[in-house]
Amino acid sequence: MSNTFQLIKGQLWIHFEGRTFIYEGENSQSAAIQSQSGEILSPMAGKVIKVSKSIGQTVKKGDLILVIEAMKMEYSLKANSVGIVEQIICQQGDQVELGKLLVKIKVEKK
């Protein structure tokens, strides 16, 4: 068994006793997915294949906002809060990078 490590684009990859640890930088997948602010970020590099909402529409938490395709599978991105679609910064067919802001929802205050 070998322990090894490597620095790749600011992330430290460590293989230690049979497990890989990743010491992530800021532009991480988990940050993109766990965004709660009404911003929908792309959780992966992929292609926008469907935008289901338009600007001004009211959405509830869990509503389908858009569909991204990566590695031949479809992923549905859903609203993370109740609000109104304020901005759509992508269109069908766009190739997008991890962490890119795709849709902004004006969060409704309770």
Partner: protein, 490 residues
């Protein structure tokens, strides 16, 4: 028929490498038909000739029949191996090869139409009175009709791509409310992956086991089955772990299913390697579909039987005998395959793309690594997330599981997240260890993302301090802990 001197490969990744290896051993040259994105891959570095057939997008390259045919002809190939996925089960492609004077390494276009088209296959099996799952496979593909059929079949039901495979376009419908969205999504995925949006519906059998039989038919019409594999460990209808033989079959079931598998292939006048898939539900088996191609999981059959299916395909395509006289086909020991997916197991399996860093495969007896990418190669979002396969063989199932866990722990892939931590958990689960898992196994026990392993406070401090002062991070350490070596290397 004469022997091939050059074979074109209409595929990419690890399967392209697998085919190149078989060709090399036969002294056959290869032409890799690749997309613009796939210049930095292992198959590209290995092939005798490479011909770019189009841009990264699959519809303009790997799924484009004309570009593939043109490429193969320009490369001076006499035959095309389609691998799996892409055009491998496309009857129009097989026919285009036949018309262009290229030998399609696989069944005839007629056999693909009969057996590979899931709807035609169901009709054929129905006529022969073979056991099928209840469902709808009609020509009326309107949403209204499909929705009313879903209600007729009863929930849960499954919608599948007629031209599909590998779980693409397959969706489980649990409530009527979501049925329309799932059917439309299935049609989109099917169109993008297979070039046809035709779907069919089936009753969903819960707690079933996925068992399949490898069949091989040579050019003289001799049809033999090469025993069974079990692939019950599936997620989103995509296989993750496969093994041979199945731990679930009695000798009697194995005999009966093997017979049905051979009958199906004989009905379709099959030639080359193919697989008949079954569901085993409460002790009864049902035909699921036929895969008219080599399967991703073919290595586990090769390991327990001591055969080389790709070479057998090449021989059959050359019109040569494939089976030795008095060749006894009997499985020995146990083999397991784990598919390595580039995905983040700590975030529920979302795709992970990027440039690969270090990749280390811990080789040894009974360990086999099928991989298409090496350090410096980029894993892109254009293609399937499967980047490699790890296959082990040992004398018993328990020992094969034990070996696989060790091998996975010692396999190193940097640069993209992989499902390796997830595979290790699955292999340790009591239901997998007992061999009683069903196709719902993953959904039942592994639907939540894995807990991300965290560095402890001391280790974190070391790493942060080390990153600040910019130590030479690139290196393999023989020291017991990488933390130690950060300081040693100073």
């Amino acid at each position: 028929m004469k022997k091939f001197s050059r074979i074109a490969i209409a595929n990419r990744g690890e399967v392209a490498v697998r085919i190149i290896r078989a060709c090399e051993e036969f002294g056959i040259e290869t032409v890799l038909l690749h997309s613009e994105a796939d210049v930095g891959t292992r198959a590209y570095r290995m092939a005798t000739k490479k011909i770019c057939i189009g841009p990264s997008s699959t519809s303009e390259s790997y799924l484009n029949i004309e570009s593939n045919i043109k490429g193969a002809l320009a490369g001076g190939a006499e035959a095309i191996h389609p691998g799996f996925g892409f055009l491998s089960e496309n009857a129009d492609f097989a026919e285009a090869c036949e018309k262009a004077g290229l030998v399609f390494i696989g069944p005839s276009s007629d056999s693909i139409r009969l057996l590979g088209d899931k709807i035609s296959f169901k009709n054929l099996a129905k006529q022969a009175n073979l056991p099928l799952i209840p469902g709808y496979e009609g020509d009326d593909q309107s949403l209204e009709r499909l929705l009313s059929e879903v209600e007729k079949i009863g929930l849960p039901a499954i919608v599948k791509a007629a031209a599909g495979g590998g779980g693409r376009g397959m969706k489980l419908i649990k409530t009527i409310a979501e049925a329309a969205e799932l059917i439309e999504s299935s049609k989109r995925e099917a169109l993008s992956a297979f070039g046809s949006d035709k779907v069919f519906l089936e009753k969903y059998l819960g707690h079933a086991k996925h068992i399949e039989f490898q069949v091989f038919a040579d050019s003289n019409g001799v049809v033999k089955h090469l025993f069974d594999r079990e692939c019950s460990v599936q997620r989103r209808h995509q296989k993750i772990i496969e093994e041979a033989p199945s731990p679930s079959l009695t000798d009697e079931l194995r005999r009966q299913m093997g017979e049905v598998a051979c009958r199906v292939m004989a009905l379709g006048k099959y030639r080359s390697a193919g697989t008949v898939e079954f569901l085993l539900h409460e002790g009864k088996f049902y035909l699921l579909e036929v895969n008219t191609r080599l399967q991703v999981e073919h290595p586990v059959t090769e390991e327990v039987l001591g055969v080389d299916l790709v070479k057998m395909q090449i021989l059959a395509a050359q019109g040569e005998p494939v089976f030795q006289e008095n060749q006894a086909l009997a499985p020995r020991g146990h083999s397991i395959e784990c598919r390595i997916y580039a995905e983040n197991p700590f975030l529920g399996g979302v795709p992970s793309t990027g440039v690969l860093g270090k990749v280390i495969w811990p080789d040894g007896p009974g360990r086999r690594f099928e991989y298409g990418f090496e350090e410096g190669d980029e894993i892109t979002s254009f293609y399937d997330p499967m980047i490699s396969k790890v296959i082990v063989w040992d004398e018993t199932r328990d020992r094969a599981i034990q070996k696989m866990k060790r091998v996975l722990k010692d396999s190193i892939i940097f640069g993209v997240y992989t499902n390796i931590p997830y595979l290790i958990e699955i292999l340790s689960h009591p239901e997998f260890v007992q061999g009683t898992m069903t196709t719902q196994f993953i959904e039942k026990y592994f639907s939540a993302p894995l807990e991300k392993p965290e560095l402890n406070a001391e280790e974190k401090m070391f790493v942060e301090a080390a990153m600040k002062i910019g130590l030479p991070f690139d290196g393999i350490s023989s020291a017991k802990s990488p933390w130690q070596s950060f300081w040693k290397d100073k």
